[in-house]
């Protein structure tokens, strides 16, 4: 749960992912979208790190860059002590078995022309870890693990509800016995009545297989239920990272405070009583981020110094990191 008794599974150091922008007849590079612009953090074995932020803040790109699905512009990603950025070819392929991803939209991420058996068995085949009858056996076992009937293996994705489809996605991610799974908004496409079912499944599997999750989401309420620590991202950078209870009880960054105060409460009486800071304006373009602190253009307490230098992401209390000039 905290830094002193846990092994670091994943260490991300100053990771940057800039996508070039080309213009004109000669397709010269005229700029870059700084989707991820220098993030540094550790993930401990067996924990769930929640990653929240508005759409377009770079949280999905961060997840994909960590898994080396994009080639990072700079920075390091150490997984079990191995620097992934330097790995190539066969070595990288072998490493990939340990790191998997669960995708956002179970309606779009499963090939409609493959049966469930083929979908869940595909990673086994691609990585040559099983063949023939062995695959069928493993698939049946995996479907059982995610509480689906093994007989479903011959069906197609369209025959399933959203929650069941997401469980197929989970079975697929589990096929290679990974130790680390990035869950990219796994429940945001599901009805609220079944979200908790998928979250509970993820929690059970975590215990059963000692999994480590990076849980990307924009729903702060659900993140609170699954995460041990929570990181808040804004425009390509981390602005705050702390233990869950600490972050929700004592948010230090003004952006985190605004996010928390915007979360709706399904209770009109309690809702009327609380004070809310509603931020105006939109997230600036990551192709042309503001100088200094990224958040200063919308920050209710911005000072002149915020435009001058970029605030360092520093540990202000044990385990509580924040990037703001105005926090002591």
């Amino acid at each position: 749960m905290n830094a002193n008794n846990n092994e670091v599974l994943l260490r991300v150091e100053d990771l940057k992912m800039h996508f070039p922008i080309y213009r004109g007849v000669f397709q010269r590079q005229v700029g870059a979208v700084r989707a991820v612009d220098g993030i540094t953090f550790d993930v401990y074995r067996g924990e769930t790190l929640g990653l929240v932020g508005e759409s377009g803040c770079g949280k999905s790109t961060a997840g994909r860059t960590i898994l080396q699905l994009y080639k990072p512009t700079s920075g390091n990603v150490h997984f079990e002590g191995v620097d992934l950025v330097r790995l190539k070819g066969e070595e990288m392929r072998r490493m990939r078995r340990k790191m998997q991803m669960i995708f956002q939209d179970p309606y779009a991420s499963l090939n409609p022309r493959m049966t469930v058996g083929q979908l869940v068995g595909e990673p086994l085949m691609v990585h040559n870890v099983a063949s023939g009858a062995e695959i069928a056996e493993r698939v049946a076992h995996l479907l059982e693990v995610v509480n689906l009937n093994p007989a479903f293996a011959t069906r197609y994705p369209h025959e399933f509800s959203g929650g069941q489809r997401q469980r197929i996605g989970v079975a697929r991610a589990l096929a290679l016995n990974p130790s680390f799974i990035i869950c990219d908004e796994p429940i945001s496409a599901l009805d609220v009545s079944i979200q908790a079912q998928v979250v509970n499944l993820l929690e059970d599997l975590q215990e059963q297989f000692n999994l480590t999750y990076l849980f990307i989401a924009h729903d702060l309420s659900m993140v609170r239920h699954i995460s041990k620590r929570v990181a808040v991202m804004y425009l390509g950078v981390f602005v705050e990272l702390a233990d869950r209870d600490e972050l929700y009880a004592n948010p230090l960054h003004p952006y985190t405070q605004a996010l928390l105060s915007a979360v709706p409460i399904p209770d009109p009486i309690a809702d009327a009583k609380r004070k809310r800071t509603i931020l105006e304006g939109d997230v600036p373009s990551p192709a042309n981020p503001p100088s200094g602190c990224r958040f200063r253009t919308r920050c209710p307490i911005a000072q002149p110094q915020c435009a001058e230098s970029r605030p360092e992401f520093r540990e202000v209390q044990p385990g509580h990191f924040v990037a703001c000039h105005l926090v002591n």
């Binding site: 609220v192 979200q195 509970n200 239920h225 709706p264 399904p266 009109p268 809310r276 931020l279 105006e280």
Partner: protein
Amino acid sequence: MSKHEKLLQIKNLTLHFRTQKGDVQAVDGVDFELDYNRAVVILGESGCGKSSLAKAILRLLPRNVSKYSGSIIFEGNDVMQLSDEEYRQNVRWVAMSLVPQAAMNALNPVIRVGDQVAEPAVVHLGLSKTEALQPALKMFRHVGVPDDFIDRYPFELSGGMRQRVAIAMALVTSPGLIILDEPTSALDVLTQANIFNVLKRIKQELGTSFILITHDIATSSELADDVAVMYAGQIVEVSDARRFFIEPLHPYSQKLMASVPRLRQEHDPDFITGQPPSLLNPPKGCRFAARCPKRFEKCSEEPPVIEQDGRKVKCWLYA
């Protein structure tokens, strides 16, 4: 305009679609009422027929309708009796308008947003294109879009701004009722909060009524005066929002409310096992019975609508 008691009364509204597998009973005998300057939220899971209900009220029907009946009484007139042309001229967008689902992606990418907002005023109020820009500009101010955005194209606007433009388009003819189908589900929490503030302000300043169709229970509580819960094509509970959010009556509403993750609560959110029934051939009796923790023998018969302290619930438990 003479004031009628209710702005809108819907009685036994039914909308069935013909498909290859049989009739889909998307809306099946819906009753509810809406007062002037009130907002009713229609809550339900995906596939429960809530978007079809919006289409049924606005008579925006596809070709494969097999049954469309009931009455929709708007300010004392049963608009179901009007011909399609009369309906188009006198009701749609004049009396009530729609902010469709994913409205921010429904804008025409090659037309300036100002012209798009003005279009309903041209079509339904008979204004010229230049005249119609006046009400368009007024509505831009109401929804909080800067004046100079009127000449921009949709791609130049953020998601939240495009959603505001879609709301302005529904407002431009000054209808008494606006139906919003999932107005904020594709937006971030901060933008959601902003849009709901806009809606609250419009309700206050213009006296408009809203039907808000959503699955997002937590956000809907910000605007709701009344709540109607829809399940498998039927309304199972109608209540004022205050009492509903504290103590829902129908077992489905109770389970649904318990599924909502809250920011400050220690226990984990609940979930509902199983799936909603197919609307092709819904079960006899209570449609929620198969998933209901409180079911008993009676539930195999069609439950009556029970009235209790001004709230309505379709459940045998209260009979």
